[in-house]
């Protein structure tokens, strides 16, 4: 058994940083915790085997988990699930104002939530509805820090929308 310490350490740090993100992304597509764990393990083993080739770990993991989720549905031969719709871009399914507002929001979020750590907080709190406490537990930050970061992000998003002519977030609601 050859232990590659450097590689193992890097892998462990990536695992700690990105596991919640991969888990959430897979779980919302699968809806079963055991299958989600299995897929997560496969995704991270693939990451270990490709560590040198990976530039952006976050992007690489998203791309890979998508493939594994698709493989999961193919292997199950589940006819009740339309694989194409699992990862379909939701913005394309709506028309008129809704789609435009969504695209604007998407672009604002992309501009204001650029930092990797902010993105992790945003995804967990805003997208996956994690409490501040659970987010803190998974990301290695204090609850107050999570709350502060999320509030700052919300303020930045609001300001950005103001620049685009939207007076307040309520206008979009």
């Amino acid at each position: 058994m050859h232990i590659d310490r450097k590689r193992r350490d890097l892998y462990t740090e990536h695992f700690n940083n990105y596991y919640p993100m991969v888990f959430n992304a897979v779980y919302v597509k699968i809806g079963n915790i055991d299958d989600t764990e299995d897929i997560c393990q496969e995704v991270f083993i693939a990451l270990y085997n490709n560590l040198e080739k990976v530039d952006s770990v976050r992007q690489w993991l998203y791309g890979t988990l998508k493939n594994y989720v698709l493989k999961f549905y193919r292997d199950r031969k589940d006819n009740t699930v339309d694989i194409d719709t699992v990862f379909a871009d939701i913005s394309l399914t709506f028309v008129n104002g809704f789609r435009d507002a969504r695209l604007v929001l998407e672009s604002v979020i992309a501009e204001e939530v650029a930092d990797d750590e902010d993105m992790a907080v945003f995804e967990m709190v805003a997208i996956h509805n994690y409490s501040y406490a659970h987010t803190a537990e998974l990301l290695g930050l204090t609850k107050r820090k999570i709350e502060y970061r999320y509030t700052q992000m919300a303020k930045r998003i609001q300001k950005n929308l103001e620049k685009r002519g939207i007076g307040s977030l309520e206008e979009l609601l």
């Binding site: 997560c40 805003a126 996956h128 820090k145």
Partner: protein, 250 residues
């Protein structure tokens, strides 16, 4: 409306939200720990020390204190050293304590005498003040007083007694007193060798080192018909057994 609440509503309305149930949220941390161990095992990269490091690393993360893996390694090493130092200290103190209490079990199993606790108290000066060090030896043998012309007989007997008692008490628990030496001991053994015609009269006394009282006396006569050396050696062996009984009773 508060910015964060408004943002959450907005995310919900524009279908960005993909909520994970609360009971699943609670399981993610555990799942992370389990999956990390499993993947490292599958990759043949798991070792016992590293599993301790990762456990510490994930524990810090779960407490909102994100440290680097290197930091976790240093903390584990420091923890291990502290633990080792503590165990060594405990072991050393225990050995010192039990040495003061009795001979160790292996010593007893070797046939050495199981003595009562060595005196760790100090002398009473009579004014309520305790002074003086603890007992240095269990027993000190004062060379036997020789009242015969052949001084070697007395020295040989002293040496034979020393050997016998050393086997019973242990190497570091017995000494032969030299002139001017007065170490604190639990027992002092002294005596004399006198001649009566061709016979040798050996008398020995065992004193309590603290009270000064005689706890045991014995006398032996070597008939002149036997070789003196054989007689004194046999007596030393017998005396050792008797003294053993006396000490064990106390």
């Amino acid at each position: 409306m508060k910015e964060t609440t408004a943002l959450s509503s907005l995310m919900n309305k524009y279908r960005f939200t993909q909520a994970v149930p609360v009971y699943i949220q609670k399981r993610v941390a555990l799942s992370k720990k389990k999956s990390l161990a499993l993947t490292l095992k599958r990759l043949n990269q798991q070792t016992l020390p590293f599993s301790v490091v990762t456990a510490l690393y994930l524990w810090f993360t779960s407490k909102g204190l994100k440290i680097s893996l290197g930091g976790a390694k240093i903390l584990t090493a420091v923890g291990a050293l502290t633990l080792a130092a503590s165990l060594t200290t405990v072991a050393t103190v225990s050995v010192q304590y039990f040495r003061g209490q009795s001979l160790s079990v292996p010593a007893e199993s070797q046939g050495l005498i199981a003595i009562k606790p060595a005196d760790t108290t100090e002398n009473d000066t009579g004014k309520g003040i305790k002074t003086g060090p603890m007992d240095r030896y269990i027993m000190a043998i004062q060379p036997l007083k020789i009242n015969i012309t052949d001084k070697n007989v007395g020295d040989a007997l002293t040496l034979a007694l020393y050997r016998e008692l050393k086997d019973l008490l242990g190497d570091n628990q017995i000494t032969v007193l030299k002139t001017g030496q007065t170490p604190r001991c639990r027992y002092f053994l002294t005596g004399s060798v006198s001649a009566l015609g061709e016979k040798l009269i050996i008398t020995v006394r065992l004193f309590d080192g603290h009270s000064g009282k005689i706890v045991f006396t014995d006398m032996h006569t070597c008939p002149g018909s036997e070789p003196q050396k054989g007689c004194t050696d046999n007596y030393a062996a017998d005396l050792g057994k008797k003294i053993r009984l006396i000490i064990e009773k106390q």
